[in-house]
Symmetry: C2
Subunit: 675 residues, 2 copies
């Protein structure tokens, strides 16, 4: 902990001089926060390494978060480029190599202030899709940032439906070149990061045309800007797409190509190539690339999405014990807002959610590793299940984390609207995850398609993938729990989630079949079921998250303090889900009115239990003040003082008196004689 | 409609050259959009007047929305001051007076670009709280902007609990002055608009101290900046609170007073005054001020909150018929995304919500008028009910509208993240309404307190206020509806909402009583019930909205096209609420599993029915392109072209090559010899 440095705006070390209202929350803690931090890091050696990396970054003034909340989009961009270039030098100096844990911790710590994100995707796609020759040519240059690449796939008019992309690559046998075009306004590339003002090269996706026949989407390397003066090449129009919600450090761009020629060798040719005579040749299987896409999704959840919720919880919970409002009992001093049941009901489910999703990601990474080994052996059986699981978990995680961040933000009242609280930028950072790396509705329906298929297999008593094995074992009786304590039994609530998910899948499968029997076409019937399909896929994913959280409990010493506190969170996550979706659980009278009332009481009682552990539970996330960058949520709890100190530095307090002289003074002088 | 002008970025009139995909949606419309516009405006003469005002503003280049999305906070502020000063001149020239409908339409149209919002509150509070003498002194100056005022109530450490405010005003008999102080960091005034960089005066709220005794909160006029050079007076520290989520045009500020003296006459003294000898004297009743607070809330809903959702619906629905994605049937062209059930399920409930809340506000304004007359006659019986209603409706409206705007934004995929879509700024504008003018949780619990009291009265068979009269008439049987069409009967679903609300109130009232019987103190028992109290208050408010929407249907010719289309929206609003909160409606087996399944089917069928009217239903909101200021949602539907044209103007495309020369060129030159 010694490495922790004070935020640049706060001259004191945050571990001293703590606000007494926060300090008292850290006395007589019922479990070891250090132990919990180690669990979250995946072992104490990881915690140690992470802290070492963070200490190096925090000690280097070049990485200071500076006045991030005060910067314009242009300033954020310049800062990001400067820090990204400097980080490469720093990593080389420290001996931290690419794809190392050190790099992962650097990116996670500095993400808001870095560029070159799509450059990394550019590198990874050449490694995945290029021949050895192509890799040897491009990767050494890209690794050293001698060229900066981007990944130009999404178009102005097309995102999720890749087959609909309009860009074209036509082979010219005479010159042995591909002619690249974005033939319409809607086909210009739109959104790729690093494209707007930085990249020199792009992996450009286009429909391949050979002798008038279309062979579908293929990747081409194209140089888009001069290395000498950064000007766009002949036939190339490009630029930045302008202001966005969040991601101001990144230069998302547009790209128009008009008859731009690249040599035949620039088509990435690991899985298919065009021969000199214009013949098309496919080779090998590109299925392993699906795995890449899946692991990118899971890493995004653990590296970006869940930490946003963890940070929001840290800020909101710490602030809620230093903010006081009204009396809980007449005559007493004003109460900490965290002592109000309504505040607990806002924040604690978010805390439990952050833990729940952290553990389910560990589970996904476990399957991913098994799947990776199998795929390399040429076996692809696990792929559809892994894809369906990862898609569903991506959706529920990004949805819940985004909503959760916003709940935390709003729970901080007016101050949650100040950028200086750190909360608005967390929302801006987390919410796009519902759209990028697979739009959530599109992904949910992919998970649903897998579930419907498996339901059909279950009906025919075929063996089922393990994550849906419950399709053949759901007990269609009613929940047997009676007393409040029964609802704290993981078997009871896991069964309830199982029942809910299965019922959702079964009903929509039946509806689908019935619509087809009534004469509807497959596609029309599917469209008429998509709302319920999406809902069933969410229920299934929710069940998986609950189940994996209960499995996590088994990994810790029975009756230990850590197990107890994790079980409280697991119970809360599960019961909050029932409380919030009671209708689903009451279907077929699985839960009676009385049982739902008891779930509610058990859930509300749990809030009071978690109250005493709330601050240690967010301390265990172990975010330094520099990483949180929040006037409300710093370790020392001096929220008001810091808000005031930071506000004074705002550029809005440094404007000259032009506005006064031009617009106001001529008015005010009319009052001079009268006051 | 002739008055409509093209957005400054689009040279063509938007009524010509419409994207065919949007144009076809406006053929063979099943009802008169003009008629519906008139209903929303409250009569055709209002529509006419509104359009005349908007035409004047749109024709004046000084009011152009310019490059709003490209401006920094400093630029937004300067624009707001410039336009606000100019608007006063323009209104004088046009003969539009204060508090006229013309002024209302101006503010609604230009709100994003105006300042002086709290100046208006300053004026209104002097009118409400000042003596005739005080009004005669200050109002003429304030009305002409010769002084600019702010309303300094909220403190850094206190918002919702007004009694907890720490600022003090101590009377000094010797000098006949009040000594004003903000005695701690947490007591500095924080958030007031126009305070940060503009206001010369403030209505400052402080605890009044006379001879050591505290008399509670009172308002004082204090000059805070020089009229000559704008410098803060002796003992005054002030400034801007810095960057926020939204409201960049407004200079929210902070204010520290240290022994600042104001003359005795500066205490606003309509309801209480301090005599020269330091005696305190109360006079009259200030209950009418509650009414002011209530009407401010309702006006805020109709003037700001609901229009945000209406605009978001307009943008998202128009965009969803020009965006195409994947095939609905194999071999067909890509389908409009609005033809997907999942997209309809996102957008149409928002559309119905916008209409529902518009009508419930009309109802509230109706009671307000009755209440205003009664209050002036010294009768205050309606006040508690009106307060409870307005608080609950404020909460449900701001919650639903904020969430709805975000649903619309996300339904536009990646482009919904571009500021140029207009959608992010709508969210930034609407979401703070959940916190200002009464924090939502605090307000809900005020409504709940009224409901609990009325429940007690119902138990004792006392007469009940009309909005809770159903407490004595709820039928505790089960819902009798059988077939799908039964659920389109307003009596059926209104009864269901009534039952849900009553059950929520009854259960929590019983729990409260039980806790007290078990020996818990009143306050502790209340706190342990607050989650359920808030939920019950939401259910009651939801019932009121549904009920008032059904009453609206009766105002239109039976069987008319307008009645049909409004009934579809009313049904959708009601059934969506049951679908989304099924658990509440299944309590006590009011709805069976089979009935809920039928509600779901009826609800999904309705989506397809509303599909054909979707574009006319948003056209009826009658927002001009300049008012929407959206690249995605303009009347002509040329979304992609406009997004591209606007992006090119972004300052991110006008930065010099400093970043390239400083950071990138030194790297890139290493690749020159290799490529």
């Amino acid at each position: 902990m010694e490495a922790k440095k004070a935020n640049i705006f706060s001259p004191n070390s945050p571990r001293q001089n703590v606000n007494p209202d926060l300090d008292i929350e850290r006395k007589n803690i019922s479990f070891s926060t250090e132990h919990l931090t180690n669990i979250l890091d995946g072992g104490s050696s990881n915690t140690k390494l992470r802290r070492e990396v963070e200490a190096v970054l925090e000690a280097d003034p070049a990485f200071s978060p500076e006045n991030r909340y005060f910067q314009s989009q242009n300033e954020r961009y310049e800062t990001a480029i400067r820090k990204s270039v400097y980080l490469s030098q720093k990593m080389a100096k420290m001996g931290w190599i690419a794809d190392s844990p050190e790099q992962y911790y650097c990116f996670k710590f500095l993400a808001e202030d870095l560029a070159f994100n799509l450059h990394i995707v550019f590198i990874k796609s050449i490694l995945a899709l290029g021949t050895d020759e192509q890799i040897n040519k491009w990767i050494p240059l890209a690794n050293k940032n001698f060229i900066i690449g981007t990944y130009a796939q999404t178009e102005l008019g097309h995102g999720s439906n890749l087959r609909g992309l309009e860009s074209t690559a036509t082979f010219d046998v005479a010159t042995q070149e591909f002619i690249l075009n974005t033939p319409s306004v809607s086909s210009m590339k739109w959104w790729p990061g690093d494209l707007g003002r930085t990249a020199t090269h792009a992996v450009f996706f286009a429909q391949l045309y050979l002798k008038g026949h279309c062979y579908g989407m293929h990747p081409f390397i194209v140089q888009i800007r001069s290395l000498r003066d950064h000007s766009p090449g002949q036939g190339i129009t490009l630029g930045d797409i302008g202001p966005k919600m969040g991601f101001e450090n990144i230069d998302n761009g547009f790209l128009i190509l008009k008859n731009v020629r690249v040599p035949r060798e620039n088509m990435l040719a690991k899985f298919s190539q065009v021969l000199p005579d214009g013949q098309y040749k496919k080779q090998g299987s590109d299925k392993i690339n699906y795995l890449t896409m899946i692991v990118v999704r899971v890493n995004m959840l653990q590296g970006t999405v869940i930490p946003c919720l963890m940070k929001a919880c840290t800020i909101a919970i710490r602030y809620s014990v230093v903010r006081r409002q009204s009396e809980l009992k007449p005559g007493e001093p004003e109460a900490k807002v965290l002592d109000y049941q309504t505040q607990q009901q806002k924040l604690f489910p978010q805390l439990a959610t952050a833990y729940a999703f952290h553990f389910v990601c560990n589970y996904l990474l476990g399957i991913f590793k098994r799947c990776y080994i199998q795929t390399n052996e040429g076996k692809f059986d696990l792929l559809p299940e892994l894809h369906a699981l990862a898609a569903g978990i991506k959706v529920i995680t990004t949805n819940y984390c985004s909503e959760g961040v916003e709940v935390c933000r709003k729970a901080c009242g007016g101050h949650g609207y100040s950028l200086l609280s750190g909360l608005p930028s967390l929302y801006m950072k987390v919410i796009p995850s519902c759209t990028y790396e697979g739009e959530n509705t599109v992904l949910l329906l992919q998970t649903a398609r897998f579930l419907i298929k498996c339901y059909g297999m279950a009906q025919m008593s075929q063996p089922l993938p393990s994550s849906v094995a419950y399709f053949s074992s759901v007990n269609f009786g009613r929940c047997q729990a009676q007393e409040k304590k029964d609802f704290l039994n993981p078997d009871i609530y896991t069964d309830a989630y199982k029942h809910r998910a299965f019922r959702g899948v079964r009903n929509v499968a039946n509806k689908l079949r019935q619509l087809v029997e009534e004469g509807k076409g497959q596609h029309e019937a599917w469209n008429q079921c998509t709302v319920q399909l999406a809902k069933a896929a969410m229920a299934h994913s929710h069940y998986i998250v609950v189940q994996k959280f209960t499995e996590e409990l088994g990994k810790h010493a029975k009756g230990s303090a850590i197990q107890r506190v994790l079980k409280n969170l697991c119970d809360l996550f599960a019961l909050h889900g029932i409380f919030s979706n009671a209708g689903d659980f009451m279907q077929d009278a699985y839960f009676s009115t009385e049982q739902i009332d008891r779930v509610t009481e058990t859930y509300l009682d749990l809030l009071a239990v978690i109250r005493r552990d709330a601050v240690p539970l967010v301390d265990a996330f172990d975010f330094s003040d520099a990483c949180l960058n929040s006037a409300l949520g710093s370790y020392d709890g001096h929220a008001y003082q810091r808000l005031y100190e930071w506000a004074k530095k705002s550029p809005t307090n440094q404007q000259d008196d032009r506005v006064f002289k031009t617009y106001l003074k001529p008015l005010f002088q009319n009052a001079l004689s009268k006051l």
